[in-house]
Amino acid sequence: MWEKVKSFASDFFVTGDPLIYGADVSIVLAAISIVFVMTYFKKWGWLWREWLTSVDHKKIGIMYILASFLMLFRGGVDALLMRAQLVVPEMEFLTPDHYNQIFTTHGVIMILFMAMPFMFGLFNVIVPLQIGARDVAFPFLNALSFWLFFSGAMLFNLSFVIGGSPDAGWLAYPPYSGLMHNPGPGQDFYIWGIQISGIGSLMTGINFIVTILKMRAPGMKLMKMPMFPWSVLSSCIAIIFSFPILTATLALLFLDRYAGAHFFTLDGGGNPMMYINLIWMWGHPEVYIIVLPAFGIFSEIVSTFAKKKLFGYKSMVYAMMIISILSFLVWAHHFFTMGSGADVNAFFALTTMLIAIPTGAKVFNWLFTMFRGKITFETPMLWTIGFIPCFVTGGMTGVLLSVAPADFQFHNSYFLVAHFHHVIIGGVVFGYFAGLYYWWPKLFGFKLHERIGKWAFWLWNIGFYLCFMPQYALGLMGMTRRVATYGWDKGWWEMNLVSTIGAGLMGIAFVVQVWQIVYSVKHLRKDRTGDPWNGRTLEWSIPSPAPLYNFATLPQVTAQDEWWEEKLLRDNGQSSSVPPALEPIHMPKNSGIPFVMSMFWFAAGFGFVFQWLWLIIAGLVGVAVCMLVHSFNYDNDYYISVDEIKRTEAAIREVPN
């Protein structure tokens, strides 16, 4: 018996690596201390009622952002481990196997479990407030999306200590990700972690399209909507057309591995290149999905801190929609070297270059918005200004890569690695940081400390350029991506050393940001105005943090920068008359089903990973039961009475200004 347990455990748990033993110990310690603290302060009920069952978009958004910060930490540690391995030639810090696992998890986590939830978090907390709505269109579904993301992310991360991590790169190209070459459970963790959270992403896409198209405050025509919801709309359109491709593709890979199918295998008539086409039909729109909302965030911030109306509103809208569509027509530029012929490559090279045009239009719009504005340089604006040169240069190296014949040189070199980090960190990460700093006071009712924020900004920026600029050169010198080590004779080590120093600076910058949050909480200076940046859009017209129902009475919108115009009227003493009378507010009830259902998905996913049929069946039956229970529940909404609204509003106003 004991022998059996021992042999099971040695397969089940990842063994033999001191780094992972250290992680095991810290996971167990963290779990014990969380359980202890929660029990000691009797917080379990609070956690369940206020968070786990919440369908409030603001709370769901905060949970998304919290989770994404944890994932940023994990993905960042992966990055630092890789840079440590590459700091000098012939380093023996990580074995090649371990190195493969780390670049795989780094990529998956940063894109799918850091950028996506960070983005969804910002969607959730801001979109309803900006369009004057009380919640998203489908609050229950919204909670379900979050918990599906969460269980997918946990399932994926579990592979670190149980079973072993995936190691086939962030897109898991077959045949290497097939059963023949990759029999371990790591690849199955990859499939199911992404599959489960991907269903959540798809539903979020649907949810926000309906929210934006149908839930805007009265008078807010589409062309009067703030730019961030527009960017969310364009991003969600790309989500609903691309995520089903991901779901199908991963399902096919799963069938190859689990049922012995021959979609992407080398034998049986399978076609591995089909996987690469399919995954990039999702993968390329995916990078636009995450960057478009960042464009929206920059548009909001630029006009707030330049105190000017956004320049070229309509061209911004068209640009984003065009980007959203074009993003589906460029996938093959990820594999010009596949050998599809000059005509195909020419088509995809041209469409890729075309995308630079709407993107360029947007950059000029931001610059013209700043032109002759009274710019102030608070942290959100700093990130925006840092973004522009970074994204422009990163974008231009992208155009270089899009030249198909030249790409045969750049392909899979560090030039490419530098390019996509350049646009994704410089565009997406800077954008979401800008958004987080900008909307933090709306979320929590206080600003983050500015001076520490500036330190973080400069550390991030200097670290960024130090880390990635040398990689362009390294790529041109012949260093290919995913190499675990290199020789002294290559002449690469100086640049790699600089690059690692830059990565370290970004690591320090992250710590500074965490310190900034801790410091700001400790020295909390409550913002009583609800409008600390002198904002322009509706979210700043309500108290911070927003009450449960957001708007006591729904705003009547007449202008594009509604709140700014309203403030101008008020300054001229022409403020709009008495607010309309309060009415009972219709709200969705909290529900535990999204959480429970996602745990069943987690169980089913875990069962699939280890091919435990009983767990698969139990998990899927649990999912079905949850859906039925929800379908049979007709009691899922309630009204907040006028009295209660009055009490809440009075309590907010009571605080002296």
Binding site: I206, A248, H262, Y634
Partner: protein
């Protein structure tokens, strides 16, 4: 809004107009959301069709479509599914007339026809497996079983959903909520019918021609 009244139309006055005239009707939102979901499902099936079309020649020396498909059974199940789409339309018409009995009746007929379709499909799959044509035989069969099976899975889930809905109709009658649910499942059912027409054409007819 959980209050039920079997007759269908009387619900309007109370629950929807007064309290939130600024807000769209929640049931209308859900129907709209479902349309968008259907668009995503189109993409999902589109991917599987693409995979099938790419791989259908790759029989790996195993049996091809002409040897495997028995068109008689396929044509029968096609007509059964098309008829079920028609009866689900009749269910919706009965709902608009406020006739709960007829609504539940036609939904039951639809579900029965759907179940027959599934039984036939399972029998076809079992037959194929006995012929030695499994999902692991060749890329063509992998793509075939996946595409047709995914459609069958959709129909099966639709069946469970439809039965749950019949029970809810018995409990609550025709309310705005159940009305939306019937509309949505009927959309889903017609959608699966359209998908099947493509399966029938691309997989079966073009396979044996």
């Amino acid at each position: 809004m959980a209050e039920h009244n079997g007759s269908g139309h009387a619900y309007h006055t109370e629950s929807h107009s007064a309290a939130h005239d600024n807000h769209p009707d929640p049931e209308e939102l859900r129907t709209f959301g479902f349309w968008i979901y259907l668009m995503t499902d189109v993409i999902l099936f589109g991917t599987l069709f693409a995979a099938y079309i790419v791989l259908r020649g790759n029989t790996n020396g195993g049996p091809g479509p002409e040897e495997l498909f028995q068109m008689g059974g396929i044509i029968t199940s096609t007509f059964i599914l098309l008829t079920s789409s028609f009866t689900s339309g009749l269910a919706v018409l009965a709902m608009h007339k406020g006739n709960r009995q007829a609504l539940m009746g036609w939904l039951s007929v639809t579900a029965l026809l759907g179940a027959t379709f599934i039984v036939l499909e399972v029998r076809e799959f079992i037959h194929l497996v006995h012929e030695g044509a499994t999902i692991g035989t060749s890329a063509f069969l992998s793509a075939f079983f996946t595409l047709v099976g995914t459609h069958g899975l959709h129909v099966s889930l639709g069946l469970v959903w439809m039965i749950a809905l019949i029970i809810q109709l018995a409990k609550h009658g025709i309310t705005p909520v159940t009305k939306r649910k019937v509309n949505v499942i009927s959309l889903f059912w017609h959608f699966l019918d359209v998908i099947w027409i493509f399966v029938f054409t691309i997989v079966y007819l073009m396979g044996v021609s």
